[in-house]
Symmetry: C2
Subunit: 427 residues, 2 copies
Amino acid sequence: MKYSVLLVVLLLVALTARAQRSPQVHDDGTVTFSFTAPQAEEVLLRGSFIPRKTFKTPAGVFGKDGSYKMQRQGDTWTYTTKPLTSEMYTYYFEVDEQPTLDPLNADTVRDVTTMLNYFFIPGIPGNLYMDQQVAHGRLQYVWYPSSFPGLPRRRMAIYTPPSYDPGRRYPVLYLLHGSGGDETAWPTYGRAAQIMDNMIAQKRCRPMIVVMPNGIADRAAAPGIDPYNHEPASAKNTESMMGKIERAFIPEVVGYVENHYKVDTTKAGRAIAGLSLGGLHTLYISANNPEKFDYVGLFSAQTTNAMTNDRIKTLQRVATNYGKVSSIISIIKGREEEGNATMKGIREGDLQIYADIDQKLKTQFSPAPRLYYIAVGRDDFVKKLNDDLREKLTLAHYPFVYHETDGGHTWENWRKYLVDFLPRLFK
Amino acid sequence: MKYSVLLVVLLLVALTARAQRSPQVHDDGTVTFSFTAPQAEEVLLRGSFIPRKTFKTPAGVFGKDGSYKMQRQGDTWTYTTKPLTSEMYTYYFEVDEQPTLDPLNADTVRDVTTMLNYFFIPGIPGNLYMDQQVAHGRLQYVWYPSSFPGLPRRRMAIYTPPSYDPGRRYPVLYLLHGSGGDETAWPTYGRAAQIMDNMIAQKRCRPMIVVMPNGIADRAAAPGIDPYNHEPASAKNTESMMGKIERAFIPEVVGYVENHYKVDTTKAGRAIAGLSLGGLHTLYISANNPEKFDYVGLFSAQTTNAMTNDRIKTLQRVATNYGKVSSIISIIKGREEEGNATMKGIREGDLQIYADIDQKLKTQFSPAPRLYYIAVGRDDFVKKLNDDLREKLTLAHYPFVYHETDGGHTWENWRKYLVDFLPRLFK
């Protein structure tokens, strides 16, 4: 009888877990959040559906999630929103100023170093981000050889479409993440596999391979699975703006994909797009390799407003200071080697990738790629940089597509940009 | 100059992030945790390295993480452990009774519905769980057709070894998770890809394919990526003990793998192992298919102590009650269909998989498989069930290997069991 007791206990656990559910998405698009915290004095709900508070710094305008006060009902705190438009939203609770996840919701995603809960409001575009009852492609995590000092292998995610036929040649989209992201960013927060499955099922884009490499120069892979950095990840991503990622991209990332998968190796069969830092990488990778990509997408790109040789001088100066500071810190910490490696990396001339951008763009646009796509939100702190880039392209009579949206530097926008970008590819 | 200001800000962020690090693993195996919480009155550290508190219920002995009080130093709370033995450990903070993750550590893993931070103490066995500078296999997430009502496709993870050669036939290990897990459990918390990479590199096991399917009967995939269950996952896994998983295993999971990968399809080329609920599945899948698996591993298996036809009667009775309760609840909730589906599922006769186990074991051991492996911890609440199973096997003179360890029903043990199991396969 012991066993039946166990089953009954499991049953009760199951029923209890079913009764308490958070969040509850109602048919009218309102959402009820519940959180049990008898000792708490104040519980806030913070989420991507709450208007953000913005603040200005010398570096630009930044935002912070807004909050709603949850109402206590006995031991449980609840909040029901107004109807929300269709989306994938993230949220968390703040209990007496302490951020915490929703223990009733196993759906979590990582943003840089922060875990967030998420939920969907069905509809458009939310349905594209949810797994649907359609044919699914495969998501693979693959290691490839790399020339990066100390990182002989790096990791990328590769999506192959449903009914993948290794005998056929597929076009390839290279899809790059932002600062603080890694090769898991587009497959998790970006819902890239779901978007691809759903867009292909709806015949809104061509079946294609999507390659999502790690774009952090001093990391080989996402936190916890990097063979060369066993310490928890930090926000130290400045090296990713020093040209290394761009310079290695064609020989190492594209080279690996084209050697290991049966893909279209013509310019018309290659697309590249990236968000934020990945937009910076996309701009320079495509400009330095004008014969490679017929489709280029900049999503809230961290472009620069000094697209001249002045830029390389600025970077070199900052880089030199960075190297020095880094060296001092490293020596204090007994890590002289690491400091020197940083300086050595910069001395190797990776920054040449940023030189002569005007001339490089001229070559890239002679003839113009089939698509040069720029998307940015009106409230994005990189909006001005993208305005400057558009002005430069317009003055030079280079054709491009511009997609301006509400909102800022958010995954809500980047997912929408991908959905808008995909149908324009490989036509 | 705006850009250089931004870079300097990023630099400061990077240096700050580097200075505050948690946890800090020191060379002597002690670990320092830091957490900033100026408003908190008490911060506890809870983790898998702290002795657990156990409590008894009618269903058995269960445990809860122990805790250490952290010490306040200004706004920051810290705790330094005694030297820890090599392992992958999980932890979290409890701030005035509120569980929270370490904001300085991006390494997180999900246990059922709870997120935990983790870190490694290098050495043996920890080094096997960390990504090392060795050749890496690939981890793929694959959807396969399924006969489960309402779930026409289910998801599995497949590890292919380094230098995978599709022209060669590899042996296959089917590796099953426990109740509350899913197809991501072994690849994340179980560190299966790292263990395989490292064991293969050290020539401690043969290169093999490892297949890790989802074993929850009413779920197609992990939370957030299940096309048929868009609501957050609950703990409702009792259906996974009703025979469905076992009955569909050979035609659907093994069938898919053997049709889509070039694998050894002899009995000597197939192994199956599972932890807890996955051990229950392993026992019955292998017993019902005596010609299929030459290597069988039960890791802390949820076996039963009524391995007779009494068991099926007990299950049937509980199942019937379950169906009734479920129906009542479902009707209250306006989900009559779901309640009926549960009862229908049980009526379909999946439970026959559990019938006549003595006779099935007799067939399975005539002749005996090359390896029948049972591992369990001395403090595990399923220890007694495994004692009973061993007694049964011993009385019948069926050969098996028994591996008893310290500890309980933990991932620390299941990873060790995998490491102990792998060298015994495919020899």
